[in-house]
Amino acid sequence: MPNVAPAPAETRTHTACAHCGDACPDEPIRLAQEPALSFCCQGCRAVYELLAARNLCTYYRLDERPGQKVKPVELPGRFDYLDLESMQSQLLEFRSPTLARLTFSIPQMHCASCIWLLENLFKLNAGITASRVNFLRKELTVSYQPDVTSLKEVVTLLASIGYEPQITLAELGAQPHHANRTLYYQLGVAAFAFGNVMLLALPEYFSFTAQLQAAFGQFFGWLSLLLALPVLLVSARGFYRSAWQGLRQRYINLDFPISLGLTALFVTSVFEITTHRGPGYFDSFTGLVFFMLMGKWVQQRSYDALRFDRDFTSYFPVAATRLTPSGEEAVPVRELRAGQRIRVRHQEIIPADVVLLRGQGLIDYSFVSGESEPVAKVPGDTLYAGGRQVGEAVELEVVREVSQGYLTQLWNNPAFQKADTATLETYANKVGRYFVALTLLLALGAAAYWYPSSPAMALRACTSVLVIACPCALSLATPFALGAALRVLGRHKLYLKNSAVVETLGRADTLVFDKTGTLTDVKRSAVEYEGPALSLAQQQAVAAVVRQSTHPLSQRLAAELPAVSLDVNDFIEVPGAGVRGTVSGVGARVGSASFVGQAAPSAEADVRQSRVYISFGGGLSGCFTFRNVYREGLREVLTELSKTYRLTVLSGDNETERARLRELFGPQAELHFHQTPQQKLDYVAQLRQQGRRVVMVGDGLNDAGALQQADAGLALTDTLTNFSPACDGILEAGSFGRLPTVLGFAQDCLHIVLATFVLSFCYNGIGLGLAVQGRFTPIISAILMPISSLSVMVFATLLVKLAAWRRGL
C-alpha cells in the first residue's frame, strides 16, 4: 500500500479530510483497511478507494490534499445526452471506429496532482488510450477507443473523481485554438524577414560603405522586397483586416493609420527600388510589423491566462430534458423544436423561449438583464431563454428555438452592451482619433506644399509623415501597461474581464459596498436555533420555503437544513419582512418577528446578529440566529479607502448594525438599509448620473443588477467558479484586504499610460517636425521607428512593475 501523508490521529479537533482537506464531521468516515485516514463524506472516500485500488495514490503525494469535494447529487441519466449521435459528432474532434478524441474544459484543475491524475486516466478506464492536460487553459484532451468505452463513460468517470467537465454550447462550436497559431506563424515570418532585411539595410547606415551600397544596392533592394512580401501578405494581414472592418462600420480605429502607414511604406519602397532611386524602407516596414505583432502577442498571452468565457453561450446548459409520452429524455438544446415539452428543475437555465405549462415559475433573469430579483410566473406566461428557474421543477413548452431566442437578439443589440464600451473610451482611442485626423491633414499639407517645387519631395514628405506619425507607440502603450497590470492583479487574485477595467478602477471616486456576503463573511456566520426542537418534517418544510428566496440569510439557512424537494404552494416573499408558503398542507412562515406574529425581540438582543423567526400554522416555533462576522482586516481597509473615496453601504438588512457600520465607515459614509436589489441598482444609476465613477463591490449573486449598472462591478467570491456575467472582475474573498492597494495601483497605471503617451508624443513630434520639412531621411526613420516602439513598451512595462513593487504587490 502506498504511504499516504497521514491525517492527524486526533479526533477531538476537526481533522482534515484525507482527500479534499475539508474539516471532517465529529465522527469521520473511515476506511476499513486504512483506519488512519479520515474522510469528510462518502464521496471523498469513494474517490480514495477508487484511486487506491489502481495504485494511483501518487495523487496524494504530489500536492497537499489535492482532491475535489465530490458533490453527492447524482441525478440518474444526467449524462445520457452524451450517447446521442448528434451530440457526439459535435463534441468529438476526431473520430474513427478505433479512436475518438475530444477536449474538455475542466475548471476544477488546480495543481500538479490534478495534472498527474488526469494524465493517468488510462489506469482507471482501459478504453482510454491517452489523456493530455493543458494546465493554463484548464483543458484535457482525451483519446479513447469507442468500441471499448463510450463518451458517456469517460465523462461519468471524470465526474466521479471530482473533475466534471464543463460542457457548454461554446464548446460545441468550432475549436478556436488554431486562431492563435496564426499569430505565431505571422510573428515567425516577420521576425525572419526583419532580421534579414536589417542585415541587408546595414550599408545604408554608414557612409563609409557607400561603395558597397553602389555595388550591391540593386541586389539588396530586390532581396529585401522578396523578404518583405510575405510580411505584407501574411504577417500584416490582421492590421488590414481590422482597419477594413473599422471602416465598414464607419469608424477609424488605430489600425487604420497603421495600415495606411504600412501601405505607404511598402508602396514607396517598391517604387524606389523599381525606379532605382534608393533602397526603400523595408527594414522599417518589417520591423514595425514585427514589433506590433509582439505587442499583440503579449496582450493575447495575458488574456489567455485569465480566460473568461465572455461568450454568452457558455451560460447555457447544453442538454434539455424533453418530455415524451414514454417519459423523460435528454436532448441537445439544438434539437429542441417549437411545440415540444421540456422540464426545467431548480437552478437550471431555460434553454429557449417557452410557455409555462405547469408549476410555479420563479425566474431569475440576472444573466440576461442584470435584474436579479426573481420574477414569479404562472402557467400560461411566456418565459425567455437565459432565465434561471429558482424553486420547484416546472414544465414548459418551447415556442422559439434558442438560435432565434430573445436572448440572442438582446445580446447582439449594441444598445444592450455594457456602457463601458460606449462611454468609457480608452485614452488611446480618444487621442488616436484626433491623431489620425491630424496626421492625415499634415500628410496632405506637406504634399501640397512640396508638390509645386518637387513632386518627388512631395511623395517623400507625405509618406514620411504617415510613417513616422503612425501611432504605433500610442497603440502599444495601453496594452503593454494595462496588460502588465492585469497580470500583477491576477497574481493577487483579482481577475478582471479586460484591461479597460483597470482604467475604470483607476478613475473611480465612489465605492459602493453590499453588506451581507461582502462586508460580512456569510460562510463564517454561525447559525443557531433557539426554541422547541423541530421535527424532520418541519425542518424540511422550512428548507423548502427558504429555498425559494434569494436573500443571503435564506440561502444560508437553506444550506444549513436538510435538502429535499417538496412542493411549495402559495409562496409569497414580502421584501424586508420574510417568506411564507404551504408545504404538505402546513403553512410555514419564516422572517422577522412581526412577520411571523411575535412580539418585538427583547432589547438586550445582540446587535451583531440577525434573527429569523419561524412559525407553523399560526403557532410560533422558534428562531434562527445568525451571528454576523465581518471580514478580517475590514477596519484597516475602510480607514484606508475613506481617505480617497466616497463610501456607501447598501444593505438589504434592517438597521440593527447601523451604529457599528457607522463606526467602521466613518461619519461621511452613506449607509442605506432595507434596500431591494432594484433600489441598489437605482442608487448606483443615480450616482452615475451625478457624474460619479462608481465601483460596486458585491457578492455577485443577489446584486448582479447593481454590479452591471456600476462603472466597474467587482464580485467578491470564495469560489472562482461562481462567476456572474454581470461583473467586470472577480476578487477572491481572501484578497479583500488588498482592495485599497489594488485601487491605488490602478490609479498609478493610468498615470503610467499618460506618461507613455507623453513619451510617444515626443517621438512623434520630433519625427513629424522633421518629416514635414522634408528633411527626413530613411536613416532616421529606420532607427526612430523600432526604437520608439521598443522604448515605449519597455518604459510602460518597467513603470508598471515599479509601481507594483512600490505598492507591495
Binding site: F135, L136, R181, G188, G195, A215
Partner: protein, 52 residues
Amino acid sequence: MSIIFLLIGISLCVALAFLGAFLWAVRSGQYEDDYTPSVRMLFEDEAVPDEK
C-alpha cells in the same frame, strides 16, 4: 566581392532553416502550452515505484 552573393545566399538558407524549424514547432503544438510539460516531466520518477 562577388563572394557576398554566396555568403548572403548561405546566411539566408540558414535563416530559412530556422524559420522552418520554428514553423514546425508551432505546427506540432509546442507553443500551445508552455506550463504543463514542465510539471509533467517530473512525474515519471514518481510513478515508477507504483508500478511494482
